[in-house]
Symmetry: none
Subunit: 209 residues, 4 copies
DNA sequence: AATGAATGAGCCTTCATTCAT
DNA sequence: GATGAATGAAGGCTCATTCAT
């Protein structure tokens, strides 16, 4: 109608990603999406085969972005010591989660997916969460002087990762504690806290060699 | 009267709590609830004024249980040192979250509320989360030799509390890591891990007096 | 509950009469009536056998009042000339219709019944409208020097009677014309107009004997 | 497409007009309308936004027809004397109200609106009733030798107009009086009666100049 | 490739009525 | 005699989906 071509598909996909994250899949109608995307009501079924297909496409998009975040977290610590890699990893995630603007929709979507699992969760686990855990376990293993598949190391990795999510809640919530701020200073302070807290936690499990 | 045991209102309320937690409010129909509760379709509107009212009632029920959990976590550490209180607090929560059977629906419900806030979330924050944070801050403050409203203390409390939720996900998820087990042994191991990790983390922020 | 006895029946009946007139039968619920009448939800079914039975009872009540209005209109002109009787008849009706306060609900109810006939309409026609027409025909016949069952006389009676209803509309409507006033002066002016207009109209059909 | 002749919107609109007039808005269900219109249950919401919107559309349709009736009543008396215009006006209305067949639904609908006003009544008053009153006042003013906004003239206009409605009732009722007939002869007789009665009534208020 | 009118299943809610007490 | 908890039928409306164009 407007431009034709494949642009419609993209507009619908991006609009859906935003709305799904904002309100949740159930609270968004196909009409809402198509209207805001300046597309026809039938566009969703035409391009994605239905609402479910659209959700899957959105999740695939999200997974792509999340994987690039994983990459970024890795790259930020490339060539550094284990402590440096952990610090860089945490800093990258805190930065993305507190959302310097875009891509925040991904975290909301992930929270919903975790609270209300769909078949897409399997993909997220396999392609996003497991790789992250693996990298994190490797780094932590080095710090703790243990093997990456040591149960202690895995638990530490979960302890580290879990702290990012407290940030998400603090954003979605009537702030429980301080730190709804997303000023560069406070973001850095949070990252520094998690790093220090986690390093101390991990070192407590360090094995003398 | 169909079964005659519980009153209709109670049957509907309990059934709704279970279904809301299992599938999410949007995916549960009033008909489903009433059918499983052996009640009439109109029972929801009669007793709760509508689906929304029913959800509110369920959340109030959940809040009641959660408050008793907070109490239990406090009582378990009564009369002990700060470290002992933290250990007891964590043990209580890990025990409840890993679910010795009942009341697991509450955690699912809470996760959904956090992912998809409704007006009920305000109540949860005020009556459940804030009191927990206060208690936790008090204990941590003592360990760290800081004031309870110190920003460092608050961040530590969030770091501690956030680790419980990793457990929740591990339950809802195709297990990312080890520890889908809820055998007494593994539950104890998890509790011990969080305690050790957190104590080390907090002590890293301790102020020399 | 409050006083028991037969008073409940009366309260329900009167409340229903008022509400039926105000909103129309379909727009009034049994719950509304019982609540406003400080009676139980089941009171309507208990005392009147159902909503239909209640409506019938209300119509019977209305018919009683309307018959007394007919009587009053007759009595007001008793012993007077035909012109005087017509003037008194019209004055009585204009007074009642413009509603010096109570009994206005009856007119609204009658309007609804005419617009949306129920079996009760037959009763109204037989016990209220026909007697009025008969009296009016008798009076008009005398003025016109014709027989009461003369088609001309009957048509004149309808012409007279119909003018009352214009008043009802002017009350229910965003006033089409002047005269929403119900001050004694304007009411008298209206009565005088209808009387003069009608007398002139009827005399135009007078037969020289 | 079921029948293919009219468009769905038109079928629904016409069916609704008929049913609303026959039974009243409250007693007609959306399902009834759609079934008789060979349309889907959702057609009403799709084309009219809901039952209320459908009613509004029906009223707009009715207003259109009523305005054309007003035009016809004017045209019928064009170029004639005031008496001739009044006679033509009355004849037109009596003809339409007694219903040579079609468009009778409009009168039923108007009666319901008057008995049970909805927001649509304002439109009817502004676009139909007021213009009619203005024309009628102009004609009567000329006959009575008074100004069109003279209170006496306005009252006369109401007296004239009100007589049409007696006809409506006579149709909806178990006939009170003669004249349920719609033979051309009786229709003409009624029109002639109203004309004569009204002319005499108006002339009684004539001012000598 | 894309549209929008039309569909039908299903949802929440309302309401007159019933029945055990 | 009177209550109020509980019922079931039905209503308006939403929404993802389809189909002819």
């Amino acid at each position: 109608m407007v431009t034709g071509d494949q642009e419609t598909r993209e507009r619908v996909l991006n609009t859906a990603a935003r709305l799904f994250a904002e309100r949740g899949v159930e609270r968004v109608t196909v009409r809402d999406i198509c209207q805001q995307a300046h597309a026809n009501v039938a566009a969703v079924n035409y391009h994605f085969g239905g609402k479910d297909g659209l959700y899957t496409a959105v999740m695939e998009l999200a997974i792509g972005v999340m994987r690039s975040t994983t990459e970024a977290a890795r790259d930020a610590g490339a060539g550094q010591s284990a402590e440096g890699r952990l610090r860089a990893y945490i800093a990258t995630f805190v930065d993305r989660v507190t959302g310097s603007g875009r891509d925040t929709w991904i975290h909301h979507l992930l929270m919903r997916e975790l609270a209300d699992p769909t078949p897409a969760l399997t993909l997220v686990v396999e392609q996003v969460l497991k790789p992250r855990m693996e990298y994190l376990c490797g780094t932590i293993a080095e710090i703790a002087g243990r093997l990456p598949d040591d149960a202690v190391v895995v638990r530490c990795a979960l302890s580290v990762q879990s702290q990012f999510h407290a940030l998400l809640w603090n954003q979605a919530l009537p702030r429980i504690a301080t730190g709804g701020d997303t000023t560069p200073a406070s973001v850095a302070a949070i990252a520094e806290h998690i790093t220090a807290f986690s390093l101390a936690g991990v070192r407590g499990f360090a094995q003398s060699r």
